[in-house]
C-alpha cells in the first residue's frame, strides 16, 4: 500500500527534518539562546548512539536465537552508568580539564602526550569501527529492501549496493555539514547532538510502539505474553555463565571505549552535572529499548513464516499484520539508529584521523611553517576533517562490499566491540593507576590489537583473506595458533575466548611493561593529573575535605601573604561556612578564593601549583609548569631588582650613617662653638668688669690711670660689640636669611672704601697697600656693602698677622670672561698647608700673638658672604706670603641681567645693545 516512492519521500523528509533540527540548534547555540541544548535530557538522549541498528533490529534477532543473552549488551552499560560517580565522572572531568578531543587524544595525553600512541589508537578505532559502520549501512539497505519488497510484492531494489552507497554518501554529507561547521576549542557539535537526541526519541518510540502492538495488539496483554514466552522455542536457553559474564563485561567495556560513545559522553558533555541525570536516565532508556525485545522475538518466531530473518522482525511483524504505518515508524527508528551511530562515529574518527594523523603529517611536510598562520591551519584542519569523514564512510562502504553483507549483524557487532575494547587496559589503567606507563600502554595495545586482528577481525572477511585450512588447523598446521583454537582455548565459548586471548595478553603486557618501565617526567606528571583529577580539579564541591589540608593550606598561606591576613581570610571563610573554629573546610569555593589571594602575591600558576600540591598530589599540567617557570624567571628578575634596591638601600643607610656622623660632629661642633662663644664673650667682659670695679672701688687713681682704664673698657666694649655683630652676621649668613642688595658698582670704589675703613682702625700696625687702579676699574653687579666687609676683613687680617718687617699687601685684580678675581697677597710668612683648610672655620685662630680682639670669625664670615654673592674664597697657594683669592661673578644674582651699556660698558660685553 505504501509505494516505494512514498517510502523514499518519508525517508528523505525525515532526513530533511533532521537537517532542520541540526541547523536550528546550531543557530540557537550561536545566538546564545541554546540553553536547552545543554540540558541533561539532551545529554542522556545523545548517549543513545550506543543503540545502533544492531540493537534496534539485531537485538530481536539475538533474542530469537539465544534468548536473554541480548540483555548483556544493555546490562553492561547499565553497570557502567551505575558507576558514574567513580568512573564516568572521572573520565568526563579529565576530558574537560585536559581538553580531550577523542579517546586517542585521552590515551596519548595520559601517556606523556605520545603521538605514537595517538596514531595507534586512531588506527585501532578506525579498524574497529569500520565493520560497525558497514553494519549500519547493511541494516539500512536491508530494511529498505524489506519494506520495498513487501510493498511491491517481491519487488527488490535494483541495486542493493547502490542504496548502501547513497546512504553512505548522504550520511557523509550530513556529517560534514554539521560535524565540521566550526572548529570549536571544545569540539562540541550542538546541531549533531540535537539531531541525535531527536533520533533517540524516534527510535525509542518506534521500538516501544512495535512492542506495544505486539504485546497488546497481537498477544493478549502482559500475562498472555509471558505464557507465550514460556511456550516459545526460547523459553529456555543454555546461557552459559562465563559467556554471560564475558558479554556483560564486553559491553560494559565497549561503552567506555567506543569512539562514538567517548565522543557523546566526554567530548560533547556540556556540564559534568548532566552525568548525575544520565546515571539513571540512560539505564532507563536502555531498559525501555530492551523491554519488548523478547516479546517481539517470541511473537515473530510464532507467527512469521519459517526462514524469515529474525534480525528484521521489528519490520516484518507490523508488515505481516498489515500495519504499514507502524512498519514505517519502525523503519524510521532503525534508520535513526543507523544514521546517528554513523554520524557520531564519523565525527569521532575524523577528529582522531585529522588531529593525530593528517595534521602531524601536514605540519611535518610544511616544516612547521604553516603553523604560524592560524587561519590557514584552521582551514586545513577543517578540510582534513571533511576528507576524513568521507574516507571513514568510504571504508565502511568498502567493508560492507567486501564482506558481502551476509554476516549476521550480531557477530559483526561483537567483533567490533572486541576490537575497540583493546583500549580498555590502557584507559582504565591510565585513570586509576599512576604506575601505568606509555610503553606499557603501547605494548599492551599492540599485543591486543595483533591478536584481535588475527583471531577475530581477519577471519570475519571469509576465505579470501584467511583460508579455511588456516582457520581450522592453524598456520603451517600449528593447531594452537588456529584463530578458533588460539592458545588451546578451542573448547570454550568463542566470545569468551576472543576476549581472553586479546584482552588477557594485552592487560598482562601493559601491566608487566609498566611495572618494569620508568616513565618520562611528562608521563608521570600526566599520570598524577589524570589519576587525581577528582581530588584536584575544581567543579563540584568538597570531595576530600580533611582538617590536615586546611591546616597545611593555612601554613602555606601564612608564608605567602603573611600570618595576619591569612588567618583573617581563613576565619572569614570559616564563618561563612558556619564553622566555629578558625579553619574552614577546604571546599573548592574556598580553595579558589585562596588561590586568587595567593595569586596576587606569587602569580596564578605558582599559586595553582602550590595549592594543588597541598590539596592532594601534583595536578600540574605542563602548561602549569611552563607558567611556573615563566613566573620564576619574572621573579628572578624581580628579585634582582630587589637586590639592586637593597644595595641602594644599603648605600642610603651608609649615607644616612654618614649624615648622622656629620650631625653628631656638628652637634659637637655646636657645643664647641657655644663654648667658644662663651669664652670669646667672657674675655672682654672680664677686662671690662675688672676695670670697672677698679674705677668704682679705687679713689686714689690718677687721671692718667682713669683715662687709660676707661679706654680699655671702651675698647673691650667695642670688641664685644664687634664679636656680637660677627656672630649675628654669621648666623644670618649661615641661615641664608641675608638679603643681598645687588646693584651696579665699580670694584675700584669698593676696594677704596674698604682700605679707608681699615685705616681708621686703631689697633694693628700700618701696612702698605699696593693696588692696580686700572685693573680695579671693573663694573660688576653685586652687594657692595657685603663685598666691602669681605675686603675689610682680608685687609685687617693682613695688618694683624703679617709678620714682615715692613708689611706690604698687594691687591691684584684680574677680569676673566665671566668672573673677576681679586687676590690679597701680603709679604708675611704664609699659612702652613695643613692649616689652609681650617682657617675658614669659625674660631680658628692659628696664633694669637696679634690676635687680640679677634674671635676668629672673620674668614668664616668672608666665606659665607662670598658664597652668597655667588663666588668663592680660597687660600692661594704658591705665593710668597699669605694670599687669599676672592673669585666673583660679574653679577651676584644670575637672575638679574646686566643692563646693556648701563655705565661704562665694561660689564656688558657680549650683551646685545
Amino acid at each position: 500500500m505504501v509505494p516505494f516512492n512514498v517510502l523514499l519521500a518519508v525517508a528523505l523528509g525525515y532526513v530533511a527534518f533532521l537537517f532542520l533540527i541540526a541547523f536550528a540548534a546550531e543557530r540557537a547555540a550561536q545566538r546564545g539562546r541554546g540553553f536547552w541544548l545543554r540540558s541533561p535530557a539532551i545529554y542522556t538522549l545523545s548517549l543513545s548512539v550506543y543503540c545502533t541498528a544492531w540493537t534496534f533490529y539485531g537485538a530481536v534477532g539475538y533474542a530469537a536465537r539465544s534468548g536473554l543473552e541480548y540483555l548483556t549488551i544493555y546490562l553492561g552499560p547499565t553497570i557502567v552508568f551505575l558507576a558514574w560517580w567513580s568512573l564516568l565522572r572521572k573520565l568526563v572531568r579529565i576530558g574537560r580539564t585536559q581538553r580531550i578531543t577523542s579517546i586517542a587524544d585521552l590515551i596519548s595525553s595520559r601517556y606523556g602526550k605520545s603521538p605514537g600512541l595517538a596514531v595507534f589508537v586512531t588506527v585501532l578505532a578506525v579498524v574497529g569501527t569500520t565493520p560497525y559502520i558497514a553494519l549500519q549501512l547493511q541494516s539500512v539497505t536491508l530494511s529498505f529492501s524489506v519494506i520495498a519488497r513487501s510493498v511491491d510484492g517481491g519487488w527488490a531494489l535494483p541495486n542493493v549496493n547502490a542504496t548502501a552507497f547513497v546512504v553512505a554518501a548522504g550520511l557523509a554529507l550530513f556529517t560534514i555539514l554539521f560535524g565540521t561547521r566550526n572548529l570549536d576549542a571544545n569540539e562540541r557539535h550542538h546541531g549533531v547532538v540535537t539531531a541525535i537526541a531527536v533520533e533517540a526519541i524516534v527510535k525509542l518510540v518506534a521500538l516501544l510502539a512495535v512492542g506495544v502492538f505486539v504485546v497488546w495488539g497481537i498477544a493478549g496483554g502482559a500475562s498472555d505474553m509471558l505464557s507465550r514466552i514460556a511456550r516459545s522455542p526460547i523459553a529456555e536457553a543454555a546461557a552459559p555463565g562465563p559467556r554471560w559474564v564475558a558479554l556483560t563485561a564486553l559491553s560494559a567495556a565497549a561503552i567506555i571505549c567506543l569512539p562514538r560513545m567517548f565522543q557523546v559522553m566526554v567530548v560533547e558533555n556540556a556540564d559534568e552535572r548532566h552525568l548525575s541525570t544520565a546515571a539513571w536516565a540512560f539505564p532507563l532508556y536502555l531498559l525501555a529499548m530492551s523491554l519488548f525485545v523478547v516479546p517481539i522475538a517470541v511473537v515473530g518466531l510464532e507467527i512469521l513464516p519459517e526462514g524469515q530473518n529474525p534480525d528484521l522482525y521489528v519490520l516484518t511483524l507490523p508488515l505481516q499484520e498489515g500495519r504499514e504505518g507502524l512498519a514505517m515508524l519502525a523503519f524510521l527508528g532503525g534508520f535513526s539508529s543507523a544514521t546517528s551511530m554513523v554520524i557520531v562515529a564519523a565525527i569521532a574518527l575524523s577528529t582522531m584521523v585529522s588531529n593525530h594523523i593528517v595534521m602531524p603529517i601536514w605540519l611535518r611536510m610544511n616544516g612547521g611553517r604553516g603553523a604560524t598562520v592560524s587561519g590557514d591551519v584552521r582551514q586545513i584542519v577543517l578540510n582534513a576533517r571533511r576528507a576524513s569523514i568521507g574516507a571513514v564512510l568510504l571504508l565502511g562502504y568498502l567493508y560492507y562490499r567486501l564482506t558481502g553483507g551476509t554476516e549476521a549483524l550480531a557477530s559483526i557487532g561483537l567483533i567490533s566491540f572486541a576490537g575497540v575494547v583493546q583500549v580498555l587496559p590502557a584507559l582504565v589503567g591510565g585513570i586509576f593507576w599512576r604506575g601505568a606507563t606509555g610503553r606499557g600502554a603501547a605494548t599492551g595495545l599492540a599485543v591486543g590489537f595483533a591478536v584481535w586482528l588475527y583471531a577475530m577481525f581477519l577471519p570475519s572477511f571469509g576465505d579470501w583473506v584467511m583460508p579455511a585450512h588456516v582457520l581450522a588447523e592453524g598456520p603451517f598446521g600449528v593447531g594452537w595458533l588456529a584463530p578458533e583454537r588460539l592458545f588451546g582455548l578451542g573448547g570454550i565459548d568463542p566470545m569468551l575466548r576472543a576476549l581472553l586471548v586479546s584482552l588477557g595478553p594485552n592487560t598482562a603486557a601493559f601491566v608487566v611493561v609498566s611495572l618494569l618501565d620508568f616513565p618520562s617526567p611528562l608521563d608521570r606528571l600526566q599520570a598524577a593529573q589524570f589519576v587525581n583529577v577528582l581530588d584536584n580539579s575544581r567543579r563540584p564541591a568538597g570531595w576530600a575535605d580533611t582538617r590536615a589540608e586546611a591546616e597545611d593550606l593555612l601554613v602555606m598561606a601564612q608564608r605567602i601573604i603573611g600570618a595576619d591576613e591569612a588567618r583573617a581570610i581563613f576565619a572569614e571563610f570559616a564563618h561563612e561556612q558556619g564553622k566555629a573554629g578558625a579553619l574552614p573546610d577546604p571546599t573548592p569555593a574556598f580553595i579558589e578564593r585562596l588561590e586568587r589571594e595567593l595569586a596576587g602575591s606569587v602569580g596564578a600558576a605558582t599559586a595553582h601549583a602550590m595549592i594543588a600540591q597541598i590539596t592532594g598530589g601534583a595536578s600540574i599540567s605542563v602548561e602549569d609548569l611552563l607558567a611556573v617557570a615563566d613566573e620564576t624567571a619574572q621573579m628572578m628578575e624581580h628579585s634582582s631588582q630587589l637586590e639592586a634596591k637593597s644595595r641602594e638601600l644599603a648605600r642610603t643607610a651608609r649615607q644616612l650613617q654618614e649624615v648622622n656622623e656629620k650631625l653628631r660632629e656638628l652637634s659637637e661642633q655646636k657645643d664647641a662653638f657655644l663654648s667658644q662663644v662663651s669664652h670669646e664673650l667672657r674675655t672682654p667682659m672680664t677686662s671690662i668688669r675688672a676695670f670697672a670695679e677698679i674705677l668704682m672701688a679705687e679713689d686714689g687713681l690718677s687721671g692718667e690711670e682713669v683715662r687709660r682704664y676707661s679706654g680699655i673698657i671702651h675698647d673691650e666694649s667695642l670688641r664685644l660689640t664687634r664679636l656680637l655683630d660677627d656672630l649675628l652676621d654669621l648666623s644670618v649668613l649661615e641661615n641664608g636669611r641675608v638679603s643681598l642688595d645687588s646693584q651696579e658698582c665699580n670694584l675700584h670704589d669698593i676696594i677704596d672704601s674698604a682700605v679707608k675703613a681699615t685705616e681708621s682702625i686703631i689697633s694693628g700696625r700700618a701696612i702698605e697697600i699696593r693696588r692696580e687702579a686700572t685693573a680695579e676699574n671693573v663694573r660688576l653687579r653685586t652687594d657692595p656693602d657685603r663685598l666691602r666687609q669681605v675686603f675689610i676683613n682680608l685687609i685687617t687680617n693682613a695688618r694683624k698677622y703679617c709678620a714682615a718687617a715692613s708689611p706690604v699687601l698687594r691687591i691684584r685684580v684680574r677680569v676673566l670672561r665671566d668672573g673677576i678675581i681679586v687676590d690679597f697677597i701680603d709679604n708675611g710668612d704664609g699659612i702652613a698647608p695643613q692649616h689652609r683648610d681650617i682657617i675658614f672655620e669659625k674660631f680658628s685662630r692659628l696664633s694669637d700673638q696679634a690676635a687680640a680682639g679677634s674671635a676668629g670669625l672673620g674668614l668664616a664670615i668672608c666665606r659665607e658672604i662670598v658664597t652668597r654673592l655667588g663666588g668663592s674664597i680660597a687660600y692661594l697657594a704658591g705665593e710668597a706670603g699669605t694670599a687669599f683669592r676672592v673669585t666673583l661673578p660679574r653679577q651676584a644674582d644670575g637672575r638679574a641681567p646686566v643692563r646693556a651699556g648701563a655705565d661704562t660698558g665694561v660689564s656688558s660685553e657680549g650683551e646685545a645693545a
Binding site: Q676, S678, H679, E680, M685, T686, A690, I694, S847, D848
Partner: protein, 127 residues
C-alpha cells in the same frame, strides 16, 4: 708681707687688671703670657701663688698644671685657675688634676683678692 704671684694670662688687659688689683694688696705680680714656656717660668719665678689661665697660646693651662703637679717641687704650689669657658666639665677637669681654686671669668676683683690671700695664707705667706 704678701708674697709673689705669677700670673699666666695671654689677654693683656686682663693681666693688667689683675696686676693692678693684686698690686694694690701688696702682692708682687709677675706676668707671663705664653703657655709654651710657662712651666719653666714657674720654676724660675718660684711664686707663692700661681694664677693660671686655661686658654693659653701653644699650651693649655691644664697641661701646665699637670706638669707642675707631677714635679715634687711644685706639687703643692697653690694654683688659682681662671677660665672664660665656664662649663662644669672644665671645673671637673681642673679639680681632677689638682687645682687649688677655680674661678670663671669675669670675676669680681674682691673675690679674686680674697682667694689669692687665702691661697697665700695656706702657702705660709704671712699677712
Amino acid at each position: 708681707m704678701p708674697g709673689r704671684v705669677l700670673l699666666i694670662e695671654d689677654e693683656p688687659n686682663i693681666a693688667e687688671a689683675i696686676r693692678f688689683v693684686l698690686g694694690r694688696e701688696g702682692w708682687s705680680v709677675v706676668t707671663h703670657e705664653n703657655g709654651a714656656d710657662a712651666v719653666a717660668r714657674v720654676r724660675g719665678v718660684a711664686p707663692d701663688v700661681l694664677i693660671l689661665d686655661v686658654m693659653l697660646p701653644n699650651r693649655s693651662g691644664y697641661d701646665i698644671l699637670r706638669e707642675l703637679r707631677e714635679d715634687p717641687a711644685t706639687a703643692r704650689l697653690p694654683v688659682l685657675m681662671l677660665t672664660a669657658r665656664g662649663q662644669a666639665r672644665d671645673r671637673e677637669t681642673a679639680e681632677e688634676i689638682g687645682v687649688s681654686r677655680f674661678m670663671t671669668k669675669p670675676f669680681s676683683n674682691r673675690e679674686l683678692v680674697e682667694t689669692v690671700r687665702e691661697l697665700g695664707v695656706a702657702a705660709g705667706v704671712r699677712e
